[in-house]
């Protein structure tokens, strides 16, 4: 048994310690917002936060998350009103949307550490997240917008 805190809720899962966190989240906890894309930390679709730091859950053994706070897209905000989510909606960033949970988790982690990211900061923080629909221009715009929303306070 491994104990995790996922989106604020303590969870006990009966899986081997080397099982990827991704599949524990998706299959045991039934939180399907976090996606499988490559299984090799190459695409970022599986990005979640471990104690606030973005990690690729497809290559993170569940044991590495034991006792830590795991945040998935479902837990980023209670009502989908995190500034990043609001900004994403304002610019209609997603197309197919499959990669967007990972994009949003990477962006939220970036904004938590840098209130006003530059384009170079965005490139550095977001280059690990592939979007095959090509929504990068809107993701960039949405991150700048989210930074502004965050500064304006949650309304």
């Amino acid at each position: 048994m491994i104990t995790l805190v996922v989106n604020g809720k303590p969870q006990r899962v009966d899986v081997g310690p080397d099982q990827p966190l991704l599949w524990v989240i998706r299959e045991d906890l039934r939180l399907t917002g976090t996606k499988y894309g490559c299984g090799m930390a190459l695409c970022g679709a599986c990005t979640v936060h471990l104690d606030g730091t973005p990690v690729r859950s497809c290559v993170t053994p569940v044991s590495a998350a034991a006792g830590k706070r795991v945040t998935t897209i479902e837990g980023l905000s209670a009502q989908g009103t995190h500034p990043v989510q609001r900004a994403w909606m304002e610019v209609d960033a997603p197309q197919c949307g499959f990669c967007q949970s990972g994009q949003i988790m990477s962006a939220a982690a970036l904004l938590a550490r840098k209130a006003s990211p530059t384009d170079a900061d965005i490139d550095a923080a977001m280059a690990g997240n592939i979007c095959r629909c090509g929504t990068y221009q809107r993701i960039r715009a949405a991150i700048h917008r989210a930074a502004a929303l965050k500064k304006g306070g949650a309304r």
Partner: protein, 717 residues
């Protein structure tokens, strides 16, 4: 340079085009299907596309799978506008597989590709919604005892102009339901559009930013198992000779190991167990006829075949005579590779085969064939097969295939339980339906003024329709020669040939299909001719497009907005290209640089698009942005190669995708031509790679004739 001015006439043409379009051939299945539809008391259901309940909630059924192109929103905009629905009181359902009610009226099948969503359905949807609106008006007129021509609608409400009386749609549903369905309802004139042409937010965005959106791989069914298939090491033609499941079955969580058409399925309680079981499996393969195939052999054979004549796809004038007449000539050979779609969501489907019914949950572009395929495998009639089309994590043509449906239904049937059949990324890249690799030879001759006197283009490669048995034997496959055959330039002597050479690598429809490679090669070769003539590549094209005014208009608009003719920023150059595909005209100017190490960077892309009617302009732009990234990824990185019959690429490390740090700014300018609606998913792809390569030539003098672009060749010593 002159800017583009749209005349009033051009704007007025919208109504004429759409009005006239109503006469084209499809049968509006309103009255016919209504009698066969389940009637729910208190719900007004004039046809299969919409219903309204007593609370005024409008339910719209979207038949076009949502794969990112925005169909859920676009379909709703079109129907809601004509219905005059209240945008805040609408719910959208995804249509079940039911070709009798939901087939595309132009193709007759419930399969979605070719950027056909809006252009094939808009008239039927508008007519269906207009019929409903007419019935609601009649119901209100009857209620008030006034002539119907005195009542009008506002969003969700019928109003009596003279007295100001109002009745919400919800209060009219019982009366409206009893009325006959008008077969020739009057459509709104475009000046009355409330939603079409406005920038409306996508309806699927909230679920896509909160993790609530359900894609194929997110489906959960009680008692469901997870399967993975060990597939042949060769791309096609491999067969299981024997397998040993002992070790696989010893993996905790593995429940079944069964042979299926595409290999050996390992079925477990969870994905990691299925993966571990698959790794433990031993399969002996018959590698089949492609066992020795390599990309070197393919290239070599193509080059040899390019010396032989092919089937003539187009012949104007006398090319041979003109080429031999002693003017300035040039020759070039272009080669493009196989490409995989690489949808972010790997292929997958979930199926449950029961004795008298079958249910499939699938991220599919092809609900119709999903149903018929599942029916065939399960031995049930199609109407016993329910298909739930989930959201698609990308489609790009890959999900029109049904190989992953076969996997799921066969496996579920074999194990007698619901199975989510997953692919890994490696399965996805190695077992695709690839954009064909082709080889092209060109010969051109200039006249005394430097304009093209002769154009010869021979294409060597497979035909997608031919391979799939959907083109008549020995015919010219339209997917192989598209754009090349319809070359828009006014050249007196023109010949296009196709040499059908298929090595057996499975080919399929990849975003913009034949237009992706033929747009690249033709738009580069015309650029070569312009440079040989010492003329400006934009002006050269423009002079040749007198008979193709819509090509010319987008070309001019893109050039104007990109400041063509003014110097590019230091270290950069511009390239231009134009193409018609899937009903729309697109022109792109790419501003690019090449670093000393040979790395190419696109900095700015200016796109002009004429898609006739722009239903949701912001999403037109989104498709152009996405098309640019898809095309740039292919130009910079994309290649699937084969060795010993197997695909050499496997994941994003060796089949790389463009990332945000390489993203240029993409500016889209919509040219409102007032013509009938065209497609959008695909038309934003074809001009991008040639415009990029033409920019590289302008900057470096090096002509890129083989994709992906070789960094080595562009490296400065």
């Amino acid at each position: 340079m002159k800017s583009i001015k749209l005349s009033r006439r051009a704007l007025l043409k919208t109504s004429l085009a759409i009005g006239a379009g109503l006469t084209i051939g499809f049968e509006l299945p309103v009255a016919r299907t209504r009698s066969t539809m389940a009637q729910t008391p208190g719900v007004f259901t004039p046809n299969q596309w919409l219903s309204i309940d007593r609370d005024g909630l409008v339910t719209i059924t979207n038949s076009v799978p949502e794969m990112g192109q925005g169909s859920m929103t676009t379909t709703t905009i079109i129907i809601a506008d004509e219905l005059d629905a209240d945008w805040s009181r609408i719910r959208v359902n995804q249509a079940p597989a039911d070709p009798k009610r939901y087939a595309n009226p132009v193709t007759g099948s419930q399969s979605y590709g070719g950027s056909r969503g809006v252009r094939d359905h808009i008239e039927m949807w508008r007519k269906s919604a207009a019929a409903a609106r007419e019935m609601l008006r009649q119901a209100a007129a009857d209620e008030w005892g006034v002539p119907v021509d005195q009542v009008d609608t506002e969003p969700g409400v019928v109003v009596h102009r003279a007295t100001g009386r109002r009745l919400p749609y919800g209060k009219l549903v019982d009366r409206a339901q009893a009325l006959p369905v008008p077969q020739n309802p009057k459509l709104k004139t475009p000046d009355k559009f409330r939603y079409i042409g406005k920038n409306l937010h996508r309806l699927d965005t909230p679920d896509k930013v909160t993790g609530r959106a359900i894609y194929g791989m997110d489906v959960q069914v009680p008692g469901m198992l997870v399967g993975l298939i060990e597939r042949a090491p060769v791309v096609a033609g491999g067969k299981v000779q024997s397998f040993d499941a002992t070790a696989a079955k010893a993996v905790p969580g593995v429940k079944h190991v069964v042979q299926v058409t595409h290999g050996v399925a390992v079925v477990a309680d969870r994905f990691p167990a299925a993966l571990a079981g698959r790794r433990a499996l031993t399969v002996t393969w018959d590698h089949g006829p492609l066992a020795q195939l390599s990309s070197e052999e393919i290239s070599r054979e193509y080059a040899t075949l390019a010396k032989q004549s092919g089937q003539v796809a187009r012949k104007d004038g006398d090319v041979e005579k003109t080429l031999g007449a002693g003017g300035r000539t040039l020759e070039a050979a272009y080669e493009v590779p196989y490409l995989e779609h690489a949808c972010m969501e790997v292929m997958n489907a979930t199926a449950h085969v029961m004795p008298d019914s079958c249910v499939v949950w699938a991220p599919t572009q092809n609900p119709g064939s999903t149903q018929s395929t599942a029916a065939k495998i399960s031995g049930l009639p199609p109407e016993k097969v329910t298909v739930n089309t989930t959201l698609l994590g990308g489609g790009f043509g890959r999900r029109g295939e049904v190989d992953f449906i076969v996997d799921a239904v066969e496996t579920a049937k074999a194990v007698g339980a619901p199975v989510k059949l997953m692919w890994t990324r490696e399965d996805d890249i190695r077992h695709g339906f690839y954009r064909p690799a082709t080889y092209n030879v060109f010969r051109g001759a200039l006249d005394a003024n430097g304009m093209p006197a002769a154009w010869f283009h021979r294409i060597v490669g497979p035909g997608i329709l031919t391979q799939k048995g959907r083109a008549p034997a020995n015919s010219v496959d339209p997917a192989a020669v598209t754009i090349a055959r319809e070359l828009p330039y006014d050249i007196p002597n023109l010949q296009v040939e196709w040499v059908n050479k298929d090595f057996g690598v499975p080919v399929g429809f990849w975003r913009s299909v034949g237009a992706s490679q033929n747009g690249f090669v033709t738009e580069c070769f015309i650029d070569e001719m312009a440079h040989l003539a010492g003329k400006d590549p934009f002006e050269y094209r423009r002079a040749l497009l007198a008979k193709s005014p819509r090509h010319k208009a987008v070309l001019e608009l893109a050039a104007a907005r990109a400041n063509w003719g003014a110097p590019a920023p230091a270290g950069r150059a511009r390239g231009i290209a134009v193409a018609f595909s899937y009903g729309s005209y697109a022109a792109h100017v790419v501003e690019a640089s090449v670093a000393a190490d040979g790395r190419v960077r696109a900095h700015r892309i200016v796109c002009a698009i004429d898609c006739g009617l722009a239903v949701n302009p912001d999403q037109v732009k989104a498709q152009m942005e996405g098309g640019a990234v898809y095309a740039l990824t292919a130009a910079l990185y994309g290649q699937i190669t084969v060795d010993k019959g197997g695909v050499q690429q496997s994941n994003f490390d060796n089949y790389p995708m463009m990332r945000i740090n390489e993203m240029p700014t993409v500016e889209t300018h919509i040219l409102d031509s007032g013509e009938a609606p065209g497609g959008l998913g695909e038309p934003g792809v074809p001009p991008v790679a040639p415009a990029l390569c033409n920019a590289i030539f302008a900057l470096t003098g090096k002509r890129i004739r083989r994709l992906p672009i070789s960094v080595e060749e562009l490296k400065r010593a």
